[in-house]
Symmetry: C2
Subunit: 308 residues, 2 copies
DNA sequence: AGAAAATCATACCCTGGAGGTATTTCAGTG
DNA sequence: CACTGAAATACCTCCAGGGTATGATTTTCT
């Protein structure tokens, strides 16, 4: 199997396009570097660099390996910091990252329950975007994340807890606020709409936009708010309507009206943690969620039970 | 950075649960193995194994590292075979993997065009599922894949060429076959339906099922055919209806009737290749696709132009 | 074009650490 | 408590990764 060292050397040479500078960056002399690359080429069975003319160019095989090597190295760094962080924490603490909108859902109840169940464990809550959560999980800043974006990262395990219905939010005296029963996306096509958050992509905003596009409707977006609270504020200020998770309804009903959608529109609530993490704290929170979900009549995801 | 060697050793020990057997499997003596693990533990800063009682158990940190290490090792193997395969082919050959249904779409025309454009390149066509294509790309059995399933794999680059409309297929004297204009999914709710393929999951069948579920309809599935041709055959035999890509229409219209769907329902056509592969043959096929798509009036995906 | 500079490869040496053998220490077991 | 199986320790060997000196080639400057 190819050594990490050789990969690191090769990537550095490829990035610098120059053995001398690469050797300097690697804190070794140039000749050993030359030999290392030759060694790697021997292992692969083909030249990785075209040395016939300077500046050095990667061969086709070289480009292929480079693209892969960069990813492997990044992965290895991730794992290393992750594991080291895990090692340096006595771990009677659970740090939870969450996106703002989960606060309107059932998260607070789950947290209360967890504090009751596991009173020996210090609990820390950190607000952060789903994407940040991935990085934070990797380097140990958080242990569990609650988000709404479907992402893929082999180092992180993702459990879809449930799909939350979406509803439309209007200002109180908006014409559409008066109607009874569900409203169709089609009726919202020409309504000025407020989406959030703008960044980072991909975001909940993209989910909403593609929801409309899936029904062949091009939404008329007039505002991109930085976060849910601001979006709701703009709705109340009669700037337009917004599509929000159902749970927001309970949190803010005095100056905003809500109507269900006739189309099936949902946003997932996703729990994530480091794959392979089997700390008792993690099992504990999984247990709390499973118990509470059963109590509330939600389906308990089988993936969640595997964590116990 | 942690050495691959140490990872391999650690994973073997963890899997065997025994230093002696692990050492045997690794073709080294037991003492160097012990030292290697100690070394790794020193680098991490925490014990990975609980040696206080046999059989050995992994510590929490150990479990975490193990889960990650297994993945990194697998990744490295993938890359190695992939790059070696790329090295051992002079590469005036392009092997294309495709799922059956793309044959009904524009793929044949693209292939014809490619043969004309690049007559020095031997072209090989291989039928295989989207999932197989990922593995085949990795170990160099194919260079390009055309499929319909959205997958994620960091070693493979995926370009969504376009979204193809779906249509409903009926037997010629099915009551619904007579109607004019598009038909709604809702009207298909109670129709006996044939889906395909059964395996491997996830498949096109899952796309169709979730299409219905997205509209809060539970499809009534009476058959799971192994592949499209068989499904269409069953439709013709009045076993039920099926949801198929629009392009099938051109291929088989003598004994089957088609109707458009009023809902927006599409299935993507996805081209994939090894990330970092910049072979001229790949650029060539990308160019052919871009040219033909422009000619046909399709949007040319920007991701495709990056390959040129 | 020719000289100078830059850059990579080769030749050769030196040392650390990966692996081997022999032995000791310990945890489970009858 | 003695026995057995298994991991750790002690110590040795030797190769491979790294260093220096220098040669071969390509690039650049005059």
């Amino acid at each position: 199997m190819i050594d990490m060292r050789l990969l690191r050397y090769f990537v550095t040479v490829a990035d610098e396009g120059n053995f001398n500078r690469a050797a300097e960056r690697l804190h070794i002399a140039q000749p050993p570097l030359s030999r290392a690359i030759q060694q790697l080429e021997a292992q692969i069975g083909a030249p990785l660099l075209d040395r016939s003319n300077r500046p050095l160019r990667l061969t086709a095989v070289g480009r292929l390996l480079h693209a892969q090597a960069v990813q492997i190295l990044a992965r290895m760094e991730d794992v290393e910091t992750m594991v080291k962080a895990a090692a340096n924490s006595e771990r009677r603490r659970l740090v939870i990252g969450f996106v703002a909108s989960t606060i309107y859902a059932r998260l607070p109840e789950l947290i209360r329950e967890f504090r009751k169940t596991a009173d020996g464990v210090e609990l820390v809550m950190v607000e952060s975007t789903t994407l940040d959560q991935i990085a934070a999980l990797k380097d140990g800043r958080i242990d569990v994340g609650f988000g709404r974006i479907r992402f893929e990262d082999p180092a992180v395990r993702r459990i879809i807890l449930r799909d939350e219905k979406l509803v439309a939010a209007f200002s109180l005296d908006h014409p559409l606020a008066r109607g009874e029963g569900p409203i169709s996306l089609r009726d919202l096509a020409d309504e000025p709409q407020i989406i959030y958050p703008r960044a980072p992509r991909p975001s909940y905003a993209d989910q909403v936009i593609s929801l409309f596009r899936d029904h062949a409707i091009e939404p008329r977006i007039v505002h991109e708010a930085r976060e849910l609270q601001i979006a709701i504020g703009l709705v109340a200020a009669e700037e337009g309507m917004a599509i929000v998770p159902e749970s927001v309804r309970r949190a803010r009903s005095h100056d905003v009206a809500f109507r269900e959608l006739s189309e099936l529109a949902t946003s997932p609530i996703i729990m994530s943690h480091r794959s392979g993490d089997r700390s008792p704290e993690l099992a504990l929170i999984a247990g709390v969620i499973a118990r509470k979900y059963a109590e509330w009549g939600y389906d308990v995801p089988t993936a969640l039970l595997e964590e116990l």
